[in-house]
Amino acid sequence: MKKTGSQIIVECLKKEGVDTLFNYPGGAVLPLFDELGSAPFRQVLVRHEQAAVHAADGYARASGKVGVVVVTSGPGATNTVTGIATAYMDSIPIAILTGQIPTSLIGNDAFQEADIVGITRPCTKHNYLVKEIKDLSRILKEAFYIARSGRPGPVLIDLPKDILVDSAEFKYPEKVSIRGYRPTLEGHPGQIQRAIHLILKSKRPLLYVGGGIISSNASKELFHLSEKLGIPVTMTLMGLGGFPGNHSLSLGMLGMHGTYRANMAVMESDLLIAVGARFDDRVTGKLESFAPQAKVIHIDIDPTSISKNVRVDLPIVGDCKRILSKILSLLEKEETHSFREGLHKWHRQIENWKAIYDMNYQQEQIIKPQYVIEKMDELTGGEAILTTEVGQNQMWAAQYYKYLKPRTFLTSGGLGTMGYGLPAAIGAQVAFPNRLVIGISGDGSFQMNSQELATAVQYRLPIKVAILNNGYLGMVRQWQEFFYGKRYASSSLEGVSPDFVKLAEAYGAVGLRATKPEEVVPVLKKAFSIPEPVVIDFVIDPEENVYPMVPAGEPLNQMRLV
């Protein structure tokens, strides 16, 4: 049967199981929107294309499905770039459909023309310009397959207007075959056997896990491995929620703002088992002194992650979930009781580190941001979905909330994108209309995409935005305090931000404010009880810092604790 390009796209999206689109229309893509108008997808009209991608990203992280974005050509497409780069750095599956001017005009500097395939080449997993309608359904099939398989990532499909309008015979390709793309899923059996051998020989093993645990849905396997052998677990920012934060074997986050015991454990460990993590500079600190005593096992689906920064003794390329379950099944045949007993000393050492220094702050007359997050944790029992912006708010949200389950902590880890949290909260709430979704924000970050309050109100998405308002670009201020002689160049927002309560009300959301510590819990309770979007302005200590802190480029045991 003949169909137009736009109709083919709708059919393909249905076949891929898409139920939600985040979109923003415009001239070149109008034929597709004309078709989408009667298509059976939930469609969320955002207020800026960057937010469309962040929302699709939040939707994808929370649900595990591919997020889908539809925008127009030129500025519509270029506005998505930050969102795409954010998703690329954190390996989030998204399909971005961009309108494009007709093929006959490409290259002529036509109105709203941008070479978006050229622009996004280095920040997509792959991208396509559809030049002939006969390729359209194959490209869409490939795009979704590439986005969600292997190491996931964003895939962009550029759709010239004539392709959307032209007709062709529609035949949905049932299978994908890309000879240059065959991700390795099963780990090498010999390597797995050697890994088990190394693990059972170790005295101070440490599991260092990242976002790969979450994207491969390997939390259960990780939990069983850690519990069976008694191996402590430290998580990267991206790995939070991959292992229950309240478990006795959880050391919390490691790295620049990691816990004292996690960073000390890395320095003292004799076997580091990295799973779905990529040895980012924010994790390792000074590379030469990272895990100096440890042999390193690295399990990762992406071969380029292995030995990129840290020399690995035993690499295993493959899907984390499959490899961990293989290890677990092989361990059934091993005697592990005495190994576990042997870790007693290691566990005691970790307890000692915890006794020397644990996350702490002094609650004074003015609200401390840590107190806000801690109370959120208590009131929600670790069951909410949190999104964050970037900077101090992100680090406090990582340190003081105990994430119990995967896909409950959504944050821009790799790119560090301010303006991510609010649209990501919208995406998560769309995926889970009945769950509590909290967007942790700063007064700076909030203003990078605050227009999305209109989206939340339009679709009655009851997100709670908690602004930790310190009147500064807080993390910039902290660096200026520590490393730039307290010269606060361009980092103060004191007295120049809008009244966030009134701003919320202007959008039709609810605005609340807390200025004293005793108001924090009542305000949170009230916000959680309102089934509408709520913005809470927490007026916090302007000069509170994030501790511990390992200055950039220093070894992990060089932590500033106060």
Binding site: R121, P122, K125, H126, L129, R179, G180, P303, T304, S307
Partner: protein, 181 residues
Amino acid sequence: MEFIWSLEFGDWNLINMRHVITLLVENEFGVLARIAGLFSGRGFNIECLSVAETLDPAVSTMTIVTRGDDQIIEQVLKQLNKLIPVIKVVDLIDKDFVEREMILVKVLATEKTREEILRIVDIFRGKVIDVGAKTYTIEITGDEKKIDALLSLLKPLGIKELVRTGRVAMSRGSKAMTELT
């Protein structure tokens, strides 16, 4: 010895090993941009690159000469493999292989030097393919050493222009690239 034909991204480090990498890629638009972008974006250097269709018009073969220490080359190979239109990547430096390059060189030819130029071309089994009033244009094919040697002899006589194709390379023996591991 550096020439204008070399595309350099990042620092030229002579301590680093030279590697000849050959690739099979999908013959589709944008592939060269993806590969060039990978090298520039990650700070790898390309000494030279050549690309053309294979017997199968859907597939192109590329030869890239690059330099780097082991860790860099490992990343180069892995990152190339990660590109979706890249079908196969082989680092020939681990194999026994032949490499060739063709150059066209326009040399000043005076009364005094004409004879000498012809002699040199003969020794190197080159060809004079164009004769001008004051120049010879010479075609010659060979490996890096041969071409460098020829150029060092012609240089004192006056080279007006030089064009190089970049290297092409192939493993020795009966195995095709698709059969190499």
